[in-house]
């Protein structure tokens, strides 16, 4: 059987090419991601940075590690998916050949061994290609992470000898996991099927396909329902789960949508012989259509689901920030100059909030040990009275006690559960302070501030160096634009309405997510592209005889190619539609969660992205299908029809 695996592999390499590339790219990405992930753990913070910048670099390392972890996970998921769908498809196409092995005495077990050894071979070849690819991928990923600002300039990830082992294990593991279901299906093939002319499986919606499809669909629906009552982190994870589970469910159940699509296609393009043939082909080759649609379903589900989730979260964050402020304008400036704003004509209240460079030492209990942690970021000096008048504070927050040597913990430190009454050690430009916690602010969608401290408590030298946001409430009866102009005229260049300020703030807060998403989207696109090309090429190669028959029956070569292209585009539309359904489920989950968090359903659909991806995938499918069909019709039709084996 191993020898047969070898010769099948050598003979029909084009069937496996896409899967090999998928494994190779998967191995390369896992290997590169692991190396970078390890390197971020050992990396040193560059010298000469301010403490806030050091924090940013540190956050960048964590962000980069998260991206790499997600990349490795997604790469493996997509590689297993593509190898799985490739083998599922090739088993369906090779049914007659596999039945022949049973006819000549092959046992069920031997058929399973055959497919598993083919997969192992594929995995090892993929891994061998993946190791050198991985070296390139490591440089590319490092460059990308530096470029989007997650890693500092000059960051490098070294080579580790175990990376080759990881590559081998991942390659073989991914291929074997992908082939597992197909090998079970192959073992059920009866020898009598070798005597059928078609060689293709008669039932597309097999029992296992129904079972897997419905089980994954049920999980998807359950997650969408659960997300309605979840918090935002939960909803975000649910959106990722919905996108992945929904993609599998829709791929499994897509053969059910094909006849409907064929009917719709017939209704739209009535009366043309070529479209009639396309419609018949669509209906007849349900499995082929489903195999081509599957990667597009995955692409759209992941891309729109994740992009929509992050965009919705950003929009919800903006909504929340907007609602948290009971004012009309926000002025951004530096130093203590902002104190002048309150005196400008038309300003009712001005809350000056300066982010200061001081150190607060937080004691945390971790694994029953008390550890000290210095916090440098998000420490804001406020005038408690003006702050309370310009913000819609939650009912449980009372800033009346925020005077003298006190502080309030902000949303960013909510998780630390610092009790009211705790005395915190503060280093304000070398001056040691002991501030008592007098209140706690609840968590928000955005990370928010760490601590609020009364301005009077801090030395002027600290306030002078900080950056300041002044939230301005315009006096009643005053024109907003006139007041804004007056503030500008007073020498403050950056005056924004609260809506604009909230949107910018939410965008900045989501910046890291957008960067992560950019990397993951690129990856998903790469895989989907490989998978789509793979399934279209396999279908084209296997259809040589069918194309020849169509030509003998009177179609010209361009007509055959055109019919193949139209069919592929119709299948792409099926994939896009089903993918949109899954993304819709993910967004429904987020909608419910944002409703719970900010009191209104905030859903942001990334329409431009959808348009670009839909158009791009159609072009790729049409081009690949056109080229494959042109190549498959190169030989004269008679020579193909006359050939038996």
């Amino acid at each position: 059987m191993v020898r047969l695996s070898f010769s099948t592999f050598r003979e029909r390499w084009e069937l496996f090419l896409g899967a090999i590339l998928s494994v190779a790219v998967g191995v390369a990405l896992v290997q590169a991601s692991m190396l970078i992930l390890i390197a971020t753990g050992e990396a040193r913070i560059p010298m000469g940075l301010s403490r806030q910048d050091e924090d940013k670099v540190r956050e960048g390392f964590v962000g980069a590690a998260t991206v790499m972890g997600m990349t490795a996970f997604l790469a493996m998921f997509l590689a297993v998916f593509i190898v799985g769908s490739t083998f599922a498809y090739t088993v369906a196409q090779r049914r007659r050949e596999l039945a022949l092995l049973r006819l000549t005495g092959g046992s069920r077990h031997q058929l399973r061994v055959l497919l598993l050894s083919e997969a192992l071979l594929l995995g090892l070849v993929g891994a061998a290609l993946g190791v050198p690819f991985g070296v390139g991928a490591k440089y590319a990923q490092t460059w990308l992470l530096i470029e989007i600002g997650l890693l500092p300039d000059g960051f490098t990830a070294g080579w580790q000898p175990w990376a080759v082992m990881v590559a081998g294990v991942v390659g073989a593991g991914v291929a074997l996991a992908g082939v597992f279901v197909a090998s079970l299906r192959a073992a059920k093939i009866q020898p009598l099927e070798s005597l059928r002319e078609t060689g293709a499986a008669s039932t597309v919606m097999t029992g296992s396909r129904w079972l897997i499809g419905l089980a994954f669909a049920a999980c998807t629906v359950a997650m969408a329902v659960w997300a309605q009552g979840a918090n935002l982190i939960g909803a975000m994870l649910a959106a990722l789960g919905i996108s992945m589970f929904g993609a599998v469910a829709m791929s499994m159940l897509s053969p059910l949508a094909v006849p409907f699509m064929a009917w719709l296609f017939g209704a739209v393009a009535r009366g043309n012989t070529l479209t009639g043939l396309v419609r018949a082909n669509l209906r007849d080759a349900v499995r082929r259509s489903a195999a081509t649609a599957a990667p597009l379903i995955v692409l759209i589900s992941l891309l729109l689901g994740l992009a929509g989730t992050f965009a919705s979260l950003a929009a919800a964050g903006a909504e929340e920030a907007k609602r948290s402020v009971n004012a009309q304008l926000v002025v951004t400036s530096t130093g203590i100059d902002a104190d002048r704003i309150a005196k400008i004509d038309g300003v009712a209240v001005a809350s000056t909030q300066t982010t200061v460079d001081i150190t607060v030492t937080v004691e945390k209990t971790q694994n029953k040990r008390v550890i000290e942690m210095n916090v440098y970021s998000g420490i804001v000096a406020v005038d408690p009275d003006a702050y309370a008048r310009t913000h819609n504070l939650p009912p449980e927050v009372d800033l009346s006690g925020l005077t003298g040597d006190t502080m309030v913990t902000g949303p960013a430190r909510h998780a630390d559960r610092i009790p009211v009454g705790t005395v915190m050690a503060v280093d304000a430009a070398g001056q040691p302070l002991s501030l008592t916690v007098v209140g706690r602010m609840p968590e928000t969608l955005e990370m928010g501030d760490s601590f609020l401290i009364p301005r009077q408590t801090l030395p002027t030298v600290v306030l002078e160096k900080g950056s300041t946001e002044t939230v301005v409430r315009v006096a009643e009866g005053q024109d907003l634009t006139v007041v804004a102009r007056r503030i500008e005229d007073a020498g403050f260049a950056q005056v924004q309405t609260v809506s604009d300020w909230a949107a910018t703030r939410a965008e900045n807060a989501q910046d890291g997510n957008v960067k992560v998403l950019t990397v993951l989207m690129g990856l998903a696109c790469l895989y989907a592209l490989m998978a789509v090309i793979n399934s279209v090429v396999i279908a084209g190669v296997e259809r040589r005889r069918e194309f020849a028959v169509a030509r003998v029956a009177g179609l010209t070569r361009p007509q055959v190619v055109r019919a193949a292209v139209i069919e592929s585009v119709a299948v792409a539309i099926i994939g896009l539609t089903l993918g949109c359904l899954v993304a819709g489920a993910a967004l429904a989950g987020i909608g419910g969660a944002t409703n719970k968090a900010v009191g209104t359903v905030v859903v942001s659909v990334p329409w431009p992205l959808l348009a670009v991806v839909a158009f791009g995938s159609m072009v790729v499918v049409a081009l690949t299908s056109g080229i494959t069909a042109t190549m498959a019709t190169r030989e004269g039709p008679v020579s193909l029809i006359a050939a038996h084996e």
Binding site: R12, L100, L101, G105, S107, L195, E645
Partner: protein, 242 residues
């Protein structure tokens, strides 16, 4: 009289439900003695291929019993049937059914190897030489003509010396020269090795090579000719089809 190599007792094969089904075979009784060659003929849709499939254990019968080399295979599990395909029976079909990725010699050795039997290169070469293809051992099926491919299929069926060879239109895709060679090879299997052949054909000249011709119509055995001639078979067939 030898004991039957293949025996069908009251075999029926119904497709579809009992109420609306079509009976491809209806109460068929057939016994093919060991060391004989039996041809099955009949009009299209008479049940010829179904009979062959049921007799070889490739298809399950609805009722009745099937005995192969003395063993009842009517309700045999998959592993028993797999063993039978490896050691007791062989197949030759119109469409050759060779594995496209293997060479001629690899195709011939394949059934024995799947059964875990060691087979020497000489044995394989001998089998191929026996069908006149000693110099084509390293060719792949697509590099061989139809007649040559069928001879490889026969060599593959012969190498494990099966008690019964099932042949479905073995010469259906061959020219007259290749047909003659294939029929001579099949006759040699029966005469020299004492193997049995159950063959479906629509060609009276091919059927005339067998020891017995059985005629099938609408799932029933309707006629039988021993020591047939082409003329006699053609006449009976014409009568059936008219």
């Amino acid at each position: 009289m030898n004991s039957p190599a293949v025996e069908l007792r009251q075999v029926s094969r119904l497709y579809g439900s009992r109420a609306n089904g079509v009976a491809a075979l209806d109460g068929v009784n057939l016994a093919c003695p060991a060391g004989t060659w039996t041809a099955i003929m009949g009009p299209s849709g008479s049940g010829k291929s179904t009979l062959l499939h049921c007799a070889a254990g490739l298809d399950k019968v609805t009722s009745g019993r099937v005995l192969l080399a003395g063993q009842d295979i009517t309700a045999a599990p998959d592993n028993v049937l797999t063993h039978m395909r490896r050691r007791v029976i062989g197949f030759v079909f119109q469409s050759f059914n060779l594995i496209g990725s293997l060479t001629a010699e690899q195709n011939v050795a394949f059934p024995l190897k799947t059964a875990g039997v060691r087979v020497s290169k000489d044995e394989v070469r001998q089998a191929l030489a026996g069908v006149g293809l000693g110099d084509r051992a390293r060719h792949k099926p697509r590099e061989l003509s139809g007649g040559q491919q069928q001879r490889v299929a026969i060599a593959r069926a012969m190498i494990s010396r099966p008690a019964v060879l099932f042949a479905d239109e073995p010469t259906g895709a061959l020219d007259s020269g290749s047909t003659k060679i294939v029929l001579e090879l099949l006759r040699a299997m029966v005469r020299q090795a004492g193997q049995s052949i159950l063959m479906v054909t629509h060609d009276p000249a091919v059927a005339a090579s067998a020891d017995t011709v059985v005629f099938l119509a609408d799932g029933h055995i309707v006629d039988r000719v021993d020591r047939p001639t082409t003329h006699l078979v053609a006449e009976r067939l014409a009568r059936l089809e008219s």
